[in-house]
């Protein structure tokens, strides 16, 4: 057991400050273990979200020494033990209390994405055939655990607060699930362009860097969606054809 120092954000939406805690730590501990120890021994009202403690549910997102990470998958041994570890809430969302932020906006964004619409079944028994190579593309996006770390790091949301105009990398990834789904027939280009604000993304790939699931968000989800939107709305040849033959073409 060695003692380590932690600086944890304590406070509400209106005000707060870092509070220091000294915690006895064992081998193999992760940041979330330290937070649990603080709760059990020193500050039982310290608010934090967590569920699975195995990197599968995406609840315990926070910023550790300023970097967006899952607390349950961040080992203390990755940090020097002579300096305090700082734990602060995600900055792209309003604080409710301590490490807990109000992420309800994300659920609103998701609800507005046009729903999955399968093609008619391939067989009279109501089933389809899909092949492994076809499902692998959307399966990558389905690894998303909704931790919202990509939303947190994205400068469009974090710095410019464009929540009303931009759905963020997490939900571009969600839209990509359906847009690349072999059975889906819905067209989400209009939604991505207008309400989703896909044009705001200038592909700095910060989202990809922080994704704990290793999803190649920018390369595999966002860029192909941008291409779809561009093809549909900004292709000069198609624009010319529309001009000549009218919108119905």
């Amino acid at each position: 057991m060695t003692a380590r120092m932690f600086q944890v954000y304590r406070g509400t939406r209106q005000q707060g400050a870092l509070q220091e805690f000294r915690v006895e730590c064992d081998e193999g501990m992760v940041v979330l273990d330290a937070v649990h120890r603080i709760q059990a021994q020193q500050a039982p009202d310290l608010a934090c979200r967590w569920n699975c403690k195995a990197g599968k549910c995406g609840s315990c997102s926070a910023e550790i020494n300023g970097r967006p990470r899952l607390m349950c998958m961040t080992r203390l041994s990755d940090y020097p033990d002579d300096r305090p570890v700082t734990i602060t809430p995600m900055r792209a969302f309003p604080v409710i209390k301590d490490l807990v932020t109000d992420v309800s906006w994300n659920y609103e964004v998701n609800r507005r994405i046009p729903a999955f619409q399968p093609r008619k079944p391939d067989f009279p028994d109501g089933t389809w055939r899909m092949y492994q190579h076809e499902v692998e593309r959307p399966q990558e996006f389905r690894k998303c655990i909704e931790c919202f770390l990509c939303q947190d790091v994205c400068h469009v949301l974090r710095t410019h607060h464009k929540h009303a105009e931009f759905m963020g990398p997490a939900f571009l990834t969600r839209a990509a699930v359906y847009e690349t789904h072999p059975l889906d027939t819905a067209d989400r280009s209009q939604h991505l362009k207008d309400e989703g604000g896909i044009g705001y993304c200038n592909i700095t790939k910060c989202c990809t860097e922080v994704c704990p699931e290793g999803i190649r968000i920018t390369d595999n989800a966002i860029i192909p969606l941008k291409e779809r939107v561009v093809d549909r709305f900004y292709d000069p040849l198609r624009g010319l054809l529309r001009l000549i033959f009218g919108k119905s073409r």
Binding site: A47, C52, G55, M73, V103, T127, Q132, R142
Partner: protein, 598 residues
Amino acid sequence: MADIQQHEHDVIVVGAGGAGLRAAIEARAQGARVGLICKSLLGKAHTVMAEGGAAAALGTVFSEDNWRVHFRDTMRGGKMHNNWRMAQIHAQESPDRVRELEAWGALFDRTPDGRINQRPFGGHTYSRLAHVGDRTGLEMIRVLQDKAVHSGVDVFMECTVVRLPVVDGRAAGALAYWKDSGRFVLFNAGAVVLATGGIGKGWQITSNSWEYTGDGHALACDAGADLIDMEFVQFHPTGMVWPPSVNGILVTEGVRGEGGILTNSTGRRFMFDYVPDMFKGDFADTEKEAQAWVTGDRKKNRRPPELLTRDVVARAITREVKEGRGSPHGGVFLDIATKRDAEYIKKKLPSMYHQFKELAGVDITREPMEVGPTTHYAMGGVKVDAETQEATVPGLYAAGEVAGGMHGANRLGGNSLSDLLVFGRRAGAAAATAARNRKPAPVSDAWVQQVVNEALAPFSRPNGENPYQVQADLQKAMQADAGIVRDKAGLEAALAAVEKLKRRAAGVGVIGSREYNPGWSTALDLRSLLTVSEAVTRAALARTESRGGHTRIDRPDSDPAQERVQYVVHKDGDRLAVRAERQPDLPADLAKLIKDGA
């Protein structure tokens, strides 16, 4: 009740894992106004942790498979203690429920001919688990989550139910508090579906999250409903054992399904020594045969003994460790590295690879894992009608892990995800029917005030005991004396400990405000944890035999006279009492199917 927020729905569903979501979707499809209450954020429920897959006799890998074989496997895995009608409905309906998920957007792994692929698992005769790598639960919950929100279900997140009002003998809604504000809210409803999951947080070593405090079990019991089979707790054979902070985190049975083997410190593949008489002849005799099965010749060779049912494997590991043949950190070795190449492992078991690499510094494509039993699943739960999932209190329904009966004395891996779908749907449908044309009964102000006062009491004791300490001591007592091996003296000690902890829980104190206060939540959850711990211990004392997940070292054999006997835990005044009830016998055709094979 001027200061209490109120909502009215036809059906209120408590819990938003697989069962709760499926129930909500079904009730909504039948035209009911549906409210879905979850203790965490939507999509974080324990279902996301389910790794291996959903068992359903789709017959895409083995065309010989059908509901009869699945039913027989389930009953034998449950040591013949299951509610036979639930096991039958489950086996018959699960293929449709899995295919339905595909129609809603699920992306299961495929067979070469483009159908849903199925993976082998413990206790299943044929490869039967529809899966997505080792993150099947995540896929399921996302599909159901999106389906529910697009169907117009009202979702109430981070809202914890503390009591169910019962008006004129009928469940009439739920009283809850918002986590963020600490304020109370009354949900009035014509029918209530409990889908709250399990009880694993009562033990020290568990694969379960903070939410798994047995809320639904306790709420139902408190409302006057019967609980059955509470002595049957599943200890999953393979949890992580090192480092200490990850002790108990699940290692999917899929590792063994994909060919992983269990060895002890002498290098012996010990599961060959533990095949029970009931399954002799169903499993490979030699390592050579087992390996031939793994590499693909599954018609001519029999399954490796690592794929015996969970109760058997967990007991075997416990014995190996106890007799001094364990691994350095008190588990045994699980090795897939020497059986499959690195690319295959990363593709089929990506989150296991990730989990061991990140949390333990172990590369499972190169070295063995250390694993040991972890508290995983409650077979016992609310006693329900097999067709409708209605509890013994009218208007109250239970589906998924919180319901009892389906899995008997031991659950087969993969049967949980399909259970959620099959019985979630049935509960949602029955609740919607029951609530139709029924105006929710008014709940008395006095009752609400009394519950609220009780819930707020810890704030009046700022110098009271720390609720985390009471929780930790309860987990210690249950782990020591109501764990994987039990005896009368230990269980009596556990019961005495629970009684003492109940008194301590009455004196816990909370500091800070009501807003998002985890100390307060922990204090309130103690009520549920203590109720289920007492129920488990009392039922375990009553069952004077060993069967499935319930192992009594003082009663090591199964007692045929108790095979179809259920111990029913119910409230008797302020106490819990146990009575024995005989379950109906299997009808002749199903009994014959079990005896002669499907």
